[in-house]
Symmetry: none
Subunit: 524 residues, 2 copies
Amino acid sequence: MSLIHLYDTTLRDGTQAEEISFLVADKIRIAQKLDELGVHYIEGGWPGSNPKDIAFFKEVKKVSLKQAKIAAFGSTRRAKTTPEKDNNLRTLIEAEPDAVTIFGKTWDFHVREALRISGEANLELIYDSLAYLKQHVAEVFYDAEHFFDGYKANPEYAIDTLKAAQQAQADCIVLCDTNGGTLPHELPAILTEVKKHIQTPLGIHTHNDSECAVANSLMAVEHGIVHVQGTLNGFGERCGNANLCSIIASLQLKMGHQCLTEKQLQRLREVSRYVYELANLVPNPHQAYVGNSAFAHKGGVHVSAIQRHPETYEHIRPEQVGNVTRVLVSDLSGRSNVLAKAEQFNINLDSKDPVTMEILEKIKDLENKGYQFEGAEASFELLMRRALGSVKQFFSIIGFRVIDSKRHGEEKPFSEATVQVKVGGRIEHTAAEGSGPINALDNALRKALESFYPQVKDMRLFDYKVRVLPTGKGTASITRVLLESGDKNMRWGTVGVSDNIIDASYQALVDALQYKLLKDAEDE
Amino acid sequence: MSLIHLYDTTLRDGTQAEEISFLVADKIRIAQKLDELGVHYIEGGWPGSNPKDIAFFKEVKKVSLKQAKIAAFGSTRRAKTTPEKDNNLRTLIEAEPDAVTIFGKTWDFHVREALRISGEANLELIYDSLAYLKQHVAEVFYDAEHFFDGYKANPEYAIDTLKAAQQAQADCIVLCDTNGGTLPHELPAILTEVKKHIQTPLGIHTHNDSECAVANSLMAVEHGIVHVQGTLNGFGERCGNANLCSIIASLQLKMGHQCLTEKQLQRLREVSRYVYELANLVPNPHQAYVGNSAFAHKGGVHVSAIQRHPETYEHIRPEQVGNVTRVLVSDLSGRSNVLAKAEQFNINLDSKDPVTMEILEKIKDLENKGYQFEGAEASFELLMRRALGSVKQFFSIIGFRVIDSKRHGEEKPFSEATVQVKVGGRIEHTAAEGSGPINALDNALRKALESFYPQVKDMRLFDYKVRVLPTGKGTASITRVLLESGDKNMRWGTVGVSDNIIDASYQALVDALQYKLLKDAEDE
């Protein structure tokens, strides 16, 4: 079984989805995760179309990736210029990626109508853009846009465009189902025909407009394609791109292709959820392989059968992709997960200790209330240590008040917070303003604690995420707040949940401060 | 091209999804919609397992369906009884459906482990359950459970079970991919083999655990299967069943099979959304064919091309399934997008009018600040109308104050808001509490406006989304709030952006109220 190259375009084509917009910092974090997962190529953006994308290529050089190569995306040169003078090709080279992917027109109709040039001129565009890039970039891939539609309209011309890419020594020619209209049974005959003319390694890039993007990708691999483009969770415009999560799992677990190591594949669910989190989207519980419901079984009868012979009721073992069998009602992450976490935190926990059961109960209860500890490991560690009675109470908060007020004509509300904190016998009562109620509360809280614990001054908040959990109750919905805090040594995440956003933020802020004080005390 | 029978099991297998539970009345309404859509068979439930399902079969007789046949679901008889004495078979007959579908074991392993009988005894179960039902019900279908896994484990035995069903004169034998693990490329060889032994018409029933349920169904039709089972929107346990919406559209628009009339097909999106509504689930915007984003296009350059030659940028004409092309207003927005939007809102805007440029500038400026009008079309319409000077000022807000306070020992903060609103010369000063500051502000604002505009009472907030735009400044980040409001006639989205979450929410709330008053005034 051959190695199939995984080419992820979450950061480029994935961001074409209406609701997705990543900051450069998010893109870097996702690139690191994709690298850890073991993806071979990460398409970071289209430097010629977007200044944010140029920044990505600069920043990504500063982090060291283990194996993934960074690819930049662009188009063939413009009709009226030479490759040397083409701005788009220049920005691609200047981005200094490991690989470049450019797309060109395959469908004669688009050549006439969109480019308004002759078919011959389009072949030249493809050829000399690729040949020029080959001199400057290690690997050059060619995306044959609208390939399947173009092939159906004019097979000879479509093949001619691929031949031009082959002559230019493209390292891979990627057949794109740009409009997403192709069905799996159409692929074998088309691929057979393409392979008669093209010896260059072939790739596939599909969209999900017919709900067949994953199937088409797998079918293409079955017929000799060696490079698969897609996005995590199938993010992408319209109906999305091919979902790499599903493709990876099927290629590896069912079709015998080695893409990732076993250990890497076990992180599939984690990485899928990480990307949802940074995109601020609710994960699809029914998502194949990685969804919360993917291995959820109803009914008492099934359950013991599943425990005895899981392989006859589940198409794969969920652990292979980092998921778990869920017996409905008990939403639980499972005792073994808790024990594994404890070990990670250097907490000595015995599987038979009643405290373990207590922690499990507590987590189950909190998860039902909307807590989520992925991305909030500091809160998770505090929860365990509190159950074990091993967290010192560094401070207690007697009360707080936050006031936002706005008078007609003022640009925005004035936010002010007051806090009373008690440490030992002493009480500190502080007031602070801020941009917004939560920032004001944060400022007042630190100000109060700094007089007792000066190290709090080192601490910074890096990220603040709010997720409204849909309950259909509008502004009275449940809110989950995730904070990422850090000091010069480390970063940590905390969580708070409440129907009151101030309260949810307050919980996460207090956890963040307690964690800081706990870790500083451990270091001493 | 042959007629493919569509067999919908939304009301039976669809309700196995964790979050779905229909009342009998809901099921009747859905059955009527499915009938109008033109589905051939509607599986209403499993009368032997559930009293609610028995009620359905009674109730559905009272409504007159145009063409759809009602099917009841059940299992083969128990091992230790005769068909005549089997409770399950009796309730099936007593339900008096037009058709009955029973499932039986195909996989020898399950026969031994779950039924704990011999392979031979299982063949008898299948044969005599079906033969008995054939005497009492007009049409009898056989679901071969775990067919594909069973076939891979023991092809001969799997085929023997189908032969038993054939001998019993089943009207259709349905091959089930119960665990959802089958991939499309595996189907042709298996179906060829089955057809060597079985002349009874064949059906397919797939699950989406490998994200290939739709593709597998289409592939099966391509290889001679004439009956397709699935659910609307792919509802179902774990990763769901095959999505009939996608299957119907592809069969009819791409594979040349006549399933529905053209007019019926145009109701596909409506019926899909109707079922979401009754299931109380948010429709998937990226759903193939019927989703809100399925034909959404970004980018000014594309837009004019789509208007000229839609068929080259869309895999089908969205109108064929009752959907529409949507032009997204985004940071790529050009003049043509704005004009297309204006037309949609019935606003008369000339491309040469300087106001058009002004609106464009304003949008770009707001988008740079973090505004997003995808999902906030009401705010977008207000923005246009304000630029044109055609929005009446229904009210002005003199000021507001929001206070959140918490004392040690209290479970969560107390939130209270006061608002002063002026309409004409009159000022209303109100106070309200709420769960959280924004809910309190929302309550106080409505309370103030209700005395002037009683219709505000009809209005409800359906969804409240908060997006913190990461700027790396922790709790001082920019916040974007998206609201979805509605009354008995319509729903509308508004947006607010600020570094103060109260302020962002306030903007979106005020827009929502203004939009409601504007539309009500237009209606008069």
